[in-house]
Symmetry: C3
Subunit: 353 residues, 3 copies
């Protein structure tokens, strides 16, 4: 059902976002789109100032932006302090989150062990497996090809996308979402060199994910050798991330794609790791630390610190280092010239004495 632009502003008011409207409140809004792709019935937004010049060309019915933006006069504009948060609210209200209807599938069934316990209203698709003594909470959606191993304990309102694999004894909190192909609880790289061969150490620990954790596609989180690998409440991870055995990640962290953490790392709360960053084992990453893209972190990072580079160092030092590195060919040439000029002076002074 379409809203008017005034109704859209009322939604934002409900979220205490204090929108101010400049334009036609009766304009009909059917949904949200980018500046480039929006049609006359869609609302768009400007959050990254880099795209400001696109305001002139958009066909959008209205644009959500910051107070200081000078939009073209013909454009309906909703001004809020945080356009990104506002558009998040509008996408959720106008489009909603993905629904997981019970499909009418022909030709298959779920594979459920008799000792498994599945909560009420859970939707276990044909081709999913729930193994012995596993428990799945209420309202769970378990897509085809998912494997829930023996004795796993899964909370309520969990979504496991196709082909997710949970090894034995994995624990998931409530409202956990795991995207397709991700593997939780596989054995880590635990071998002892005994007599010139790698002898496997039985990995008898588990993995535990807190509430509201979301993990992207094709990740891998090792079970602990002993004890548990833990991901705290509210932490979100992107795709192709590898977490080593016994590592503990705090709450409300955000990891970008292809991040890799070795084993026994202690990560605090609200830590951000950018893409392809790597962290060696047995160190601590402090609360609210930020690890830059491609950083190679070899030492513990203090609370609130931002590090960059490989080996990673604090960002202000890395910026100076990179600036000097970019001038290194010139510096090297200068050194060569200094050597010559100095030799010349030395020669002349040698003659002089």
């Amino acid at each position: 059902m379409p809203h008017t632009l005034s109704q859209v502003c009322e939604i934002l008011e409900r979220y205490a976002m204090q929108p101010t409207l400049a334009g036609d409140g009766r304009r009909s809004i059917a949904g949200v789109a980018t500046l480039e792709e929006a049609s006359e019935e869609q609302i768009s937004f400007l959050s990254n100032p880099k795209y400001e010049k696109m305001l002139a060309g958009t066909r959008a019915a209205a644009v959500v932006c910051k107070p200081e933006i000078a939009a073209p006069p013909h454009l309906n504009v909703v001004r809020v302090a945080d356009p990104y948060a506002a558009i998040t609210v509008l996408i959720a209200e106008l489009h909603g989150y993905r629904r997981h209807p019970r499909p009418r599938i022909v030709g298959g069934a779920a594979h459920v062990a008799p000792s498994a316990v599945v909560g009420e209203n859970a939707n276990i698709h044909p081709g999913a497996t729930i193994d012995e003594h596993a428990t799945v909470g209420r309202n769970a959606t378990v897509y085809p090809g998912v494997y829930v191993g023996p004795r796993c304990r899964i909370g309520d309102d969990v979504t496991l996308y196709p082909n997710v694999v949970l090894y034995d004894d994995t624990v998931l909190g409530n409202r956990v979402t795991i995207h397709a192909g991700t593997v939780i609880g596989n054995d880590g790289l635990g071998y002892a060199p005994i007599g010139g061969k790698w002898v496997k150490i039985p990995q008898i620990g588990i993995v535990e994910l807190g509430d509201d954790v979301e993990i992207g596609a094709n990740c891998s989180i090792d079970r602990a050798t002993l004890g548990r690998t833990r991901i705290g409440n509210g932490t979100k991870m992107s795709n192709l991330i590898a977490i080593g055995h016994g590592t503990h990640v705090g709450e409300h962290c955000m990891f970008v794609a292809q991040v890799g953490l070795a084993g026994s790392v202690e990560v605090g709360d609200r830590v951000t790791m950018a893409g392809q960053a790597g962290v060696v084992g047995h160190i601590r990453i402090g609360d609210k630390a930020t690890i830059g893209a491609k950083a190679g972190v070899t030492n513990s990072v203090a609370d609130g610190e931002t590090v960059l580079g490989a080996p990673a160092i604090p960002v202000r030092e890395m910026r100076r280092q990179v600036a000097c590195l970019m001038r290194l060919p010139e510096t090297t040439e200068t050194v060569k010239q200094l050597d010559k000029r100095l030799a010349e002076l030395e020669r002349r002074l040698g003659e002089a004495t």
Copy 2:
């Protein structure tokens, strides 16, 4: 059926490769192999000059190489301008591409929603799922464990290897091949920090792959938040690649394993990205650009430019920088010596005045 070496040359003539044969045209050729492994009934090739010394030892019936190669006199040689292209043709003609016969499987069936539409001659294996309102084109091969989500639209002659996952509304062109375990259309890392928590932004966009796209194993391509993530016609990707939401990749690009692109990247046509390269969001990579292995690209790259390093810079600058970096210990020591020598001069001149 074996060919004679003369017939092999005729195949290359059909492709306008103008082969010249030195040797015995009646020699029987049953297939293609490497110089090291070829038997007396197989033809081999030399493309990388690094391996030229292996010509002496090969047992191959004949070797395809460049005109300027001086092969041992006993060896049958087919000379062409591009041996790599020639051997590609010969593998395709003598061995052919993988066939996907309809297996005679016992004990299972495909899971197909009644509202799904599957084209004629499509081969949907037992254990594959085609969800509600999805359409699959003619001659498709859909292996076990594949999940085709609601409302996906898949072209003709598509091959989906085992355990590929297509989220809802994914669009694939004709002749698309996706290797095992790859996930297309999963939600990207889209959260807004509202009130100190990560609030998920519904990811209402889609992924669209053009014709003749081939994607390797265990990759992940995020659906767009709004609009579409797009991979252009003829683009080929290797394994374990992560593509962020809203990124657009042009036509006929080639990405090597473990490349990662953040969201909202614009990649032109015929771009090459080497292994483990990473690209930050919201920048443009120009047509025919080349991104070196492990590069960390933080700024837009011009058409035809080759960049290397992290942060990535044009290759000729990076080569100078690396050369200086390799000499940095010596340069640093020279600076230390210069400082001493200069202090000595200053001392002497101080005394002199």
Copy 3:
């Protein structure tokens, strides 16, 4: 069944680990845990000296450590030369490796082609597929969602965790373990540029894994274009690793997560590769070489060599380079000052003459 601490020492004696016990041999030991998490009925260990201070606070019934460790007097201590090996033995003896019981699954069956041959006592789970002419050895465990392609040959005592995919003609030795989601034998990135388009080279080679190989989750090992991609006996790999076509890895190697090898690499025996390392194609990594985390290896590495950095160089050179790099801002400033001081001298000397 619980052991006494004396019985635990007897186990270690059986493995010729020559334990010496200081403490109460009658103490009951039910299992193994970390220093932090051990209860009064569990034995723990100290291997990494970094954690020595945790000895004071542990509740463990006993601790395995090196002879030179001065443990608190109240603690039962078992001293051995190699605590890590000892605790490996104890975990294996007291807890054992994962068992793979035959589940009592309702609602599904394995998909087995009539021409496939499955050895005695093999456990093929519902939802696994064994395609035409494949052979699976004795005592194999094949979890749900596994796909074993046509003509694969799998040895005895093999474990394939859920959703592993083996493409056609893949060969696995005895006692191979492959973790969930890993893909073996997919086509590599083999295309020839012919007439301005990428023409696919049929990938007619295979992948062969030796005995006792273990591969982590969500890896990808390309089949060879011609011949074979090979992983030698006893080699262990972690998660999200990409191995290119035609690469040969030796025996008893250890690869950490997210390592990537291009095609046609020759890796010797007992090579260690740390996390996120990458290796370009067509080079050799010598026996017992060590490749550091995030290294970008662009040249062959000698036997026994340790390399670091990108481009990777021998570790002692890299350490000097990094040390100089960390001082580069100061060195650059010194050069600037030297230039000024030298100009001043030149000026004065110019005046003097």
